[in-house]
Amino acid sequence: MRRDSTRTPRAALLIPLVTALFVAGALFPFLWTLLSSFKTPAQMFRLPPGWWPDPFTLENYLAVFRERDFLHNIVNSVVVAATTTAVCVVIGTLAAYAFARLALPAKRTLLGLILAISMFPQISIVTPLFLLLRRLGLINTYPALILPYLTFAMPLTVWLLTAYLRRIPAELEEAAAVDGATRLGTFTRIVLPLAAPGIFTTAILTFIYCWNEFLFALVFTTNDSARTIPVAIVMFSGYHTVPWGEILAAVVVVTVPVAAAVLVLQRRIVAGLAEGALKG
């Protein structure tokens, strides 16, 4: 932290101001959505819309789960994100160990290629994936999402895990080898426990990316019960009516747990993002 002697009085005023504006600006839309979700549609579109819900109603939330298959959508999102994450973490850890520790031909090129692939424009591969999934009859199934999600999740996982595994000092494994441990033994008893925080963070980040994905989910699912959360929310609107009450309630239902989870895991997430960005 800078010593006070280098900070001007102007800065001393600006800094809390900028911070306050930032926090307020970032969080206000959420608060407004939260408040509005408890209002009746009549109040929502009254001019001027009051701040506080009056009357306070839970009707929107009931409607979301009663009249729509939203619970199903939530389940879909969870299943797809969890499965993709699990597959990627398992396969990715193996590959990352090889990249981090073993002699592999053309390592740098491969890693660069993998990084490049994780940044593929999804729109560029939508067409063949769509045609293939349609031919296999997989549209509206879980594999229809899990398989395409591997496109960006797999490279991302390998990249992040390689960065983490690299940070574990090789001397620890060497010491174990001197003591006669096998490679598998050192992997399970020394590397894995040390890599656990990194693996956990990678899993969180991968899960979030899958959870938020829109384009593939939009294209590869066509009916309500197969949809994931982002697509479902956007599709709430019908031809003539936009059910804002339900939409906002659904947004809150999705955002609150995510916000809670993110706040609980914040240190991991921040470290993971910074790590992957700066030291990868």
């Binding site: 001007t8 911070t19 839309p29 490049a116 994936l129 769509f130 395409p148 496109t151 995510v258």
Partner: protein, 312 residues
């Protein structure tokens, strides 16, 4: 190729390379199947005419005809201009804002846990929610009748025609950009803040002792050392902004008319609505190569820092 950090006591034998290949092959197989193969397939498809809405026209090889059609299509050039405009303005704003906020937060981060918690929340929650959910929130904020921002504008005396923000291109673009900046500045801030925290304090003190003012310290010490972080953040965000889809789809659908149509949206329209797969594939290839161009340019600037110095 391998250095001292690599295994010393496990003998570096052929079996190690074989083990490495074995461990890497599932990941590479997956990546090859779901990423590389479809990309090649798209390239191949873009050289064909395949329009499911005209089933009487057989699918056939047409060489670069789809690309020629794009080059002659005003709507394509419009989308390209829109996309570049959106990318440059959004990412530029995010960088400037993100840097300003990161500089302020650097002081704050050491303070009380409550403040730190709020700041982290402000950074992480917009990042963690789906882009389209954020877009839906903004759709509500600018709603013609119920939107709080619309209401605020009206109270500030804006003429009624201008308050239906999404109905006019200029204001629609403003909403698109503001909403995007809101969603992604926190991510920029995070990366830049992490970068700022790696700059040793002594450098600032030394510069202050040498008589450098705050601005000079910023330009001479902060910016150069922050360069890697800035480039990483720019790379990710530029690519993301260039390929923007869900954000625009939800907020404006490309409207009014095609005033806010981006390349990805055009490609989506071609593939899913018009079912002109050849054209959609061609657009996909164009987008891919543009993205690749950006990525390569940034990576060269970054110096391709893939490995630590002691390894090869």
């Amino acid at each position: 190729m391998t250095g001292p950090a690599d295994t010393v006591t496990h003998r570096r034998t052929l079996s190690e390379t074989r083990l490495a290949c074995l461990l890497v092959s599932p990941a590479l197989a997956v990546i090859g199947a779901v990423a590389i193969y479809p990309l090649l397939s798209t390239c191949w498809l873009s050289l064909h005419q395949k329009n499911l809405k005209m089933p009487w026209v057989a699918e056939r090889f047409v060489g670069l005809a789809n690309y020629a059609a794009l080059a002659a299509d005003e709507r394509f050039w419009g989308a390209l201009v829109h996309t570049v405009f959106f990318t440059v303005v959004s990412v530029g704003l995010e960088l400037a804002l993100g840097l300003a906020i990161a500089l302020a937060l650097e002081e704050v981060v050491g303070r009380a846990a409550a403040v730190r918690g709020l700041v982290r929340a402000a950074i992480l929650v917009p990042w963690a929610i789906p882009t389209v959910v954020a877009a839906v929130i903004w759709l509500y904020l600018v709603h013609p009748t119920g939107g709080i921002l619309t209401e605020a504008l009206r109270n500030l005396g804006a003429p009624p025609e201008t308050t239906v923000l999404l109905a006019r291109p200029a204001t629609a673009w403003t909403v698109l950009i503001v909403a995007d900046v809101w969603k992604t500045t926190p991510f920029m801030t995070l990366i830049l803040l992490a970068g700022l925290q790696t700059i040793p304090r002594d450098l600032y003190e030394a510069a202050a002792v040498d008589g450098a003012g705050a601005w000079q310290r910023f330009v001479r010490v902060t910016l150069p050392l922050l360069r890697p972080a800035i480039l990483v953040a720019l790379t990710f965000r530029t690519l993301q902004a260039f390929m923007v889809f869900g954000h625009v789809y939800t907020l404006t659908g490309g409207g009014p008319g095609t005033a806010t149509e981006t390349l990805a949206l055009l490609a989506y329209q071609a593939t899913l609505t018009d079912m002109d797969f050849g054209r959609g594939a061609a657009l996909g290839v164009v987008i891919f190569f543009c993205g690749l161009g950006f990525a390569l340019a940034y990576m060269r600037a970054l110096g391709l820092r893939l490995e630590k110095p002691e390894e090869t």
